[in-house]
Chain length 259, copies 2
DNA sequence: GCGGGGTGCG
DNA sequence: CGCACCCCGC
């Protein structure tokens, strides 16, 4: 089973390119999409159906929005945290596919200070309690998505320059580490300890062409799921082009043994 | 010499398609463009230069704007009517190319009543006096552009339905006829008396696919220029496609004998 | 820099 | 319907 996480930065703006990627490059079994930026009414269900995917969508107008698209039927679908304090922003959707439990996350962007930063830090503690209270780390749990945090110096193109900037501040990293510490494995870093594995490059300054990126999209697993994880990579096929305009993120794809 | 008039509905949105038309279909000698919708600063001079065109531009931010692009050097360039009552809207540019005097016009859209209609009617009387006072009908004069008026029943797809609607109201037609009566020849109607020659189709309802159009773009000539006019047609190459999005107008192209 | 939203224009 | 404009989010 091949699982991809991909912040598409608008599913409607990206559908043509995404379809080409699935057809010409990589027919992954499960797609976890972030920032679909549309409501369920405007989600291109039919196009995914034609490609063989069953979709669960938690959408919102203009901003945020997450979806899971799977070649295996989805069940046990949970939209949001079931917490009115958080669920006005559509950032989490969970579902089971086969014996895997997928939790798809779009963490807040945050800010250098103030309410947006507070909200981002609280989001990770909410995500932690949500997972611990609703699921079990003994499941084949896969938590994927755009976490908007780089864990370590290796995960950013210039750790000195970027220290203290959004996505690489000490508070953010601590909040994210505290979440990961419930027992999740950072599969990319585990399997590729010597590769940066950037997943995001700013649209500005042609950052992709200078490889000035950050690793902020993750595939995190419970130990039971990690046991089956055979490989993981960042797929640059969509990102390294000028037209049609790609997302600023690249998909991360992990392969899990069928057993 | 092949001369085209083309309301591009934004030169920046249309440049790729226009370039393909010039390269793959029809390398006209002179292009009269309307609704470029940009200032001179934002006009793609370099791309036209690479295609071999010398450009004279009378632009404005967001709306209106006209340009003449020519493979023969342009001279005697006149921008606007030199009348502050009209020249806040950039709708007229004139230039000589070879021994032809080209006057490129984007007439106002108008309305069913009120100030916009008044302005449109006044525009044609201003255009008339502008031409009579500045130029001579004895020149090889070519007045082209989007006149936003259909002359006759044959020039609209449903004269009964459209009677009294914008572009086909009696007042508009009379004002336009009064202008043409200075001694201009409607070359398309003269050379193709039995063809509708629509030049514009509404974006709505897929009007192009039902041929629900109007003939509102003209190549009008003085008798001396008409003597050299060998053929004229509406080129549907750009219009009859879905992607990239075409202008709602099609170019009209006339061929003038070199002598 | 590239998305979304809205509004104005034709 | 598809441009332009603006403001906003990331």
């Amino acid at each position: 089973m091949e699982i991809a996480t991909f912040n598409v930065n608008s599913i409607r703006a990206r559908m043509d390119l995404l379809e080409r990627w699935l057809k010409e490059k990589r027919a992954v079994d499960l797609l976890a999409l972030q920032e679909i930026k549309c409501t369920e009414e405007n989600f291109p269900f039919e196009r995914f159906e034609r490609l063989g995917y069953d979709c669960a969508v938690f959408g919102q107008k203009g901003y945020n929005g997450v979806a899971i698209c799977s070649k295996y039927p989805l069940y046990d679908i949970k939209k949001g945290f079931a917490d009115s304090l958080f669920d006005n922003q559509k950032r989490v959707i969970a579902a089971k596919a086969g014996d895997y439990r997928i939790i798809n996350v779009y963490a807040p962007h945050g800010d250098l200070e103030g309410e947006k930063l507070i909200y981002k830090l609280r989001f990770f503690s909410k995500l932690k309690s949500y997972i611990v209270e609703n699921f079990s780390l003994k499941e084949k749990l896969i938590v994927v998505g755009d976490m908007n945090v780089a864990r370590d110096d290796m995960d950013v193109w210039d750790p000195v320059l970027l220290k203290g900037s959004i996505g690489f501040m000490d508070e953010e990293r601590e909040a994210f580490e505290d979440f990961v510490s419930i027992g999740l494995v950072d599969t990319y870093r585990e399997l590729r300890p010597n590769e940066p594995g950037f997943t995001w490059w700013d649209y500005k300054n042609g950052a992709i062409w200078r490889n000035q990126g950050m690793r902020i999209d993750y595939i995190l697993t419970s130990p039971n799921a990690f046991e089956r994880c055979e490989d993981i990579d960042v797929d640059l096929w969509t990102r390294k082009r000028r037209s049609p305009t790609p997302s600023d993120h690249a998909p991360v794809v992990a392969h899990f043994r069928d057993e």
